[in-house]
């Protein structure tokens, strides 16, 4: 097995690719690469080595667009990486990184693809939420306990892979990502899906298998473009559960309801941003006779919906008050049976991977 410096000369290069993968390198000496080659290199592979650190001199690869440092023993990402202004893809799977490993200015990178799967992150570091060009983010197989609300800053995000963590809640702010098409939350500890996720109009694929879901929000039916939905390995209720929980609404809720149902205009200049966000998260009551909205205070009912004639999904209906009824039941007494959901056309969610 070749050792560090000798390998540099022997490595084959083609075009602007420098492949130093699988060489049992303990260190990476940037000086072994000529200045010309460093300037020309667009892709640098350092994966499958024994690097415990990456030297800051990697910034001398000033035109680097792609860097793969996966499968090493890295405990930190060097500060020099933030000077790679053209870097678009960073793959750092299977290392020993955690939320303290990133340099302070990491968020200034112009990254489009970032993969930290197979590390030791317990939190998504805030620097990651500043990567405004990020299209694809993978932090699968880590120790994440939650998803920060700041995830909504990643407005270019199309792909979010967070499978195999310890996540117990999905923040409704996730719904503010307008281009999200692929969302993976399998193998976590999620007990409920916020109905606001129904706003992810671009969502094509949602992976929720192996979680702690007992039902889904009814609003999930409005995700018109969804083609794949995995729900296996969840304790979804199979028998009807009649659960009428109604906490009287708070003053905040009542004020919010009034503002929304009377269409009183409001703007960020009128009130603190947290209240603007609260008002934006209002949900419409599904009762067609009720023009009301609700925020947190609602009546919850689980109804079974025959999905395209194939599967029975337990869907949670939220109604704004006990007086309201769900749109699919003309007879409130018939709650006990599963009903054909008339408002779900057969072409919705045709590829439900429940099996």
């Amino acid at each position: 097995m070749e050792s560090q410096e000798g390998a540099a000369a022997a490595v084959a290069t083609r075009d602007c690719v420098l492949d130093f993968s699988r060489l049992s390198l303990n260190t990476f000496n940037v000086n072994n690469v000529s200045e010309d080659r460093r300037r020309d290199t667009r892709q640098l592979f350092l994966n499958y080595n024994r690097l415990s650190s990456l030297p800051s001199s990697v910034s001398l690869f000033c035109n680097l667009e792609f860097l793969d440092i996966s499968n090493n023993g890295l405990t930190a990402i060097c500060e020099g990486i933030t000077r790679l202004t053209k870097l678009k893809t960073l793959l750092a799977k299977n290392n020993r990184l955690d939320e303290f490993s990133l340099p302070k200015e990491f968020g200034s990178l112009q990254l489009e693809v970032l993969n930290f799967s197979g590390n030791r992150f317990q939190e998504i570091p805030l620097q990651c939420t500043k990567l405004l060009r990020l299209q694809s983010l993978s932090i699968g197989g880590n120790r994440l306990k939650s998803i920060p609300a700041e995830i909504e800053y990643l407005t270019s995000l199309e792909m979010l892979y967070l499978g195999g963590n310890l996540i117990s809640d999905i923040p409704p702010e996730l719904a503010h990502l307008p281009y999200l098409t692929y969302l993976v939350l399998c193998d976590n500890r999620i007990q409920s899906v916020p109905p606001q996720l129904a706003r992810l109009h671009s969502l094509r694929s949602l992976s929720l298998h192996n979680n702690l879901l007992t039902y889904l929000p009814r609003e999930i039916l409005s995700l018109v473009h969804m083609q794949e939905l995995s729900l296996r390995g969840n304790p979804l209720v199979v028998r009807f559960v009649k659960e009428m929980i109604y906490d009287p609404p708070s003053l905040l809720e009542l004020a919010g309801r009034t503002i929304k149902s009377r269409n009183i205009p409001y703007s960020p200049y009128d009130m603190p941003s947290n209240l603007v966000r609260y008002l934006d998260l209002a949900s419409k009551c599904p009762n067609p006779k009720c023009a009301g909205v609700y925020f947190d205070s609602c009546v919850r009912q689980i109804k079974f919906v025959d999905f395209c004639g194939k599967y029975r999904l337990p869907l949670m209906h939220y109604l704004c008050s006990p007086e309201c009824t769900s749109p699919c039941s003309s007879n409130p007494q018939s709650d006990a049976e599963s009903e054909e959901e008339n408002s779900v056309p057969a072409d919705r969610l045709q590829r439900v991977l429940l099996g």
Binding site: N94, V184, Y311, A346
Partner: protein, 202 residues
């Protein structure tokens, strides 16, 4: 049943040639096919052109049509991708790992009376280069790439070839017939214009 001379196929093309020979006969020896497939040591540069991945779900990429006697295909599984529980429409199914690992979970056929959960019979992780075998009399299975960091690539042989199979809802045992499609054939991408009521789940 005679056995063909045992020759270790060094390349994928050699494996395909041996398989053509073995399948000239009308009866097949499952062990023989399993051994031959297992003895081919996966060389990525030989199958890379068939290994076309899709972000959202696993893909089926046809490699060889076996003179009508079998279909040989390569399946590409991204992180977290898995199949439904499915049967094999009275055919033999051989599955060889070319890269990465796959979890296979076996299930019994649900009986008409029971309307509850399908209970798994057994589970195993298939390692690189290993070959698994299943047919309808053995049971049903689900195949998954449970890794969150690595892709998986598998080589499948089905004999006789089939285009539809049944998929099962684990919670209820309810089954559905589905049509199977190819993401690519012989290394060329073959987009499928889907009928709304169909789905490719294998």
């Amino acid at each position: 049943m005679e056995q063909t001379e045992v020759v270790k196929p060094e390349t994928l093309d050699e494996l395909i040639a041996v398989l053509h020979k073995i399948f000239e006969s009308d009866t097949i020896n499952v062990e023989e096919v399993q051994n031959i497939m297992e003895s081919y040591e996966s060389k990525p540069h030989e199958w890379t052109k068939y290994a076309k991945f899709d972000q959202y779900r696993y893909t089926r990429n046809l490699v060889d049509e076996g003179n009508g006697k079998f279909n040989l295909m390569i399946l590409c599984w991204g992180e977290g991708h898995g199949s439904s529980i499915h049967d094999h429409t009275d055919s033999h199914c051989f599955l060889k790992l070319l890269q990465g690992q796959l979890k296979e979970t076996l299930f019994d056929w649900p009986d008409r009376k029971s309307h509850g959960d399908m209970v798994q019979k057994s589970q195993r992780i298939l390692q690189e280069n290993k070959v698994a075998y299943i047919n309808d009399s053995i049971g049903l299975h689900r195949v998954e790439n449970v890794s969150h960091t690595e892709c998986a690539v598998s080589l499948h042989l089905y004999s006789p070839p089939f285009e539809t199979c049944q998929t099962f809802d684990q919670r209820t045992g309810h089954k559905n017939t589905v049509k199977m499609t190819f993401w690519s054939k012989h290394g060329e991408r073959t987009p499928y214009v889907s009928n709304l009521s169909e789905s490719d789940l294998k």
